[in-house]
């Protein structure tokens, strides 16, 4: 008897039990007040329910329900096509983002620290950022063919200018009083850069990195849809051509989810490694 009571209590504790509505409602209320995750779940639930309803209406014969999309996703994971597609898509994406992050932050910080570097580089990146990159992606194919190089270049073309310009802005907006403080205690230029300027610039630096990664996802999808039908882009194109709309939506939704999780992961790294004071709130 004792054994059967305690699991029931645990159920109550989690808030899954339907038997005690008053305490469950209370529990949900306190949970909703304190936890951000509750609202994230609610927000996603609203989205998915709306999607399900829209699919059942249906708003278009080419618009699958949420549940159909989920089962199509399961099918593609089971037959391995999802894995193979991500294996192809993630290579240029990771490569392009790593290159853009290193080169972009390096150039941006240099531009922030030196007027001459700014004069030399800023015009190039301002033009690149303003240019409609989708129009340039086919040119890359023309020169580099349809391999990994072309896809990686497409990622870099979209990600690099954003990262460079944000890093530059981040360094230019460093608190001048902190730099003076470092000078007044005879900090060297290197100490000034690594102990003051980069940590103080890091929130904007990371904002640029997040925008750059989002742009990189756009770049790789453009490349796969416009140039080389491989990876997730191919999965989308193929299932569209054979009217497997649930599968097509599953591929699209999965790349959105991967992109979102990557950005959330980056935010986590930023607050936990670089700016410990932002954790305590």
């Amino acid at each position: 008897m004792q054994m059967s009571i305690s699991p029931a209590k645990i159920d109550n504790g989690i808030g899954a039990s339907q038997e005690a509505p008053s305490t469950t409602a209370e529990m949900i209320r306190t949970f909703a007040d304190e936890r951000r995750s509750f609202w994230i779940v609610v927000s996603l639930a609203v989205l998915f329910i709306t999607w399900e309803i829209a699919g059942r209406v249906p708003i278009s014969f080419a618009f699958p329900t949420f549940l159909e999309t989920v089962s199509a996703f399961g099918e593609m994971v089971a037959d391995g096509s999802m894995h193979r597609a991500y294996f192809l898509t993630l290579q240029p994406l990771v490569l392009g983002i790593v290159v853009s992050a290193i080169v972009g932050i390096g150039l941006g910080v240099a531009m922030g620290l030196s007027d001459k570097a700014e004069w030399l580089l800023a015009p190039v990146f301002i033009v690149l950022q303003a240019a409609p990159m989708a129009a340039l992606v086919p040119l890359v194919t023309f020169v580099y063919g349809i391999g990994l190089t072309a896809k990686t270049l497409a990622v870099i073309m979209l990600a690099l200018p954003v990262i460079v310009l944000n890093s530059y802005k981040a360094v230019r907006h460093v608190n001048p009083s902190l730099v003076d403080m470092c000078r007044s205690f005879q900090g060297s230029r290197m100490q000034q850069i690594f102990k003051i300027i980069i940590p103080d610039a890091s929130p904007v630096l990371f904002a640029g990195l997040r925008l750059g990664i989002a742009a990189g996802f756009i770049g790789v999808m453009l490349a796969e849809l416009l140039i080389t039908p491989t990876g997730i882009g191919d999965l989308i194109t193929y299932h569209r051509s054979v009217a497997n709309y649930a599968h097509m939506y599953a591929a699209v939704a999965s790349i959105i989810a991967v992109s979102t999780l990557t950005l959330a992961g980056l935010q986590y790294v930023e607050t936990h490694l670089l700016r410990p004071e932002k954790r305590r709130k």
Partner: protein
């Protein structure tokens, strides 16, 4: 003029003494066409607290930053311990108006930052930092971040950081201007205690007449546009009395009045 609490130096350039830690010679500073400082000559005596006082725009902060080596002078010379200096040096430490604390670092790391830049070993650095954290009354807050502290406590961190590098001269740029009135008074009393305890030279910038008279051994009045030394006042206030008695003392009030009369022409 039979006020015993008020002794004025004869000339605008104070008499040369052998015990001057900082000498300011013919300092001029122009920002483009704007003349911020013209022909400043001053000497700051060892172990004394000298205040640069004046209305906004008189260049008092600029002068302090020139002494600190943070801002280059257009012409003139700064000597510290008899040597001309052009940049910041270990014998001077600066306390900033906006505190200039690193928001990503704890109180302990902020206070020890001057030592960290000099590559003092971590154990020794923490020991020194903890001693000064305690001295400014922040014991127990070592692991807090600046945003968890009040304005007054943040400036205590700034002062502890300046003390920790053991400089001869402490340069304080309106350190209490961002602190509320109650805390400011407490701060002024603590500052006097630290001046007594540390035997260092303090150069203090403020725009508060009462604050200047209360804490200073000597007050340098600057007049604006361009900044010049208009008067040097030694408010000989007996600091053995309690803080409340000092603030009610006739001599103290006379000096405040005297300075106000000198400055009122610049008030708008």
């Amino acid at each position: 003029m039979a006020n015993p609490a008020l002794a004025r130096s004869g000339s605008v350039t104070s008499a040369a003494s052998n015990d001057a830690v900082v000498q300011v010679r013919e300092i001029c500073k122009n920002y483009g066409d704007v003349e911020a400082l013209r022909g400043i000559n001053l000497e700051f005596e060892r172990g004394k607290l000298t205040t640069l006082l004046g209305p906004s725009g008189c260049g008092k902060t600029t002068l302090l930053k020139i002494i600190a080596g943070l801002v280059p002078a257009t012409s003139g010379e700064i000597c510290v311990n008899g040597h001309a200096v052009t940049g910041p040096g270990p014998e001077r430490a600066f306390v900033f108006q906006d505190f200039a604390l690193m928001p990503w670092a704890t109180v302990l790391r902020n206070v020890g930052f001057g030592l960290e830049l000099k590559r003092v070993p971590a154990a020794e650095r923490d020991r020194t930092a903890r001693r000064y954290i305690e001295q400014v009354g922040l014991a127990g807050f070592e692991q807090k971040y600046p945003h968890e502290l009040s304005g007054g406590m943040r400036q205590r961190v700034g002062i502890a950081r300046a003390f920790a590098v053991n400089a001869d001269v402490l340069l304080l740029d309106e350190p209490f201007s961002a602190v509320d009135e109650q805390n400011r008074r407490k701060f002024q009393e603590d500052l006097l205690r630290l001046v007594e305890l540390e035997k260092k030279t303090f150069i203090f910038v403020t725009h508060s007449i009462e604050e200047a008279v209360y804490v200073s051994d000597r007050i340098v009045l600057l007049s604006p546009r361009p900044g010049r030394v208009s008067q040097v006042i030694d408010p000989m206030i007996d600091r053995s009395a309690s803080p409340d008695d000092i603030r009610r003392d006739a001599g103290y009030l006379d000096v405040v009045e005297e300075i106000w009369q000198g400055l009122r022409q610049y008030a708008e």
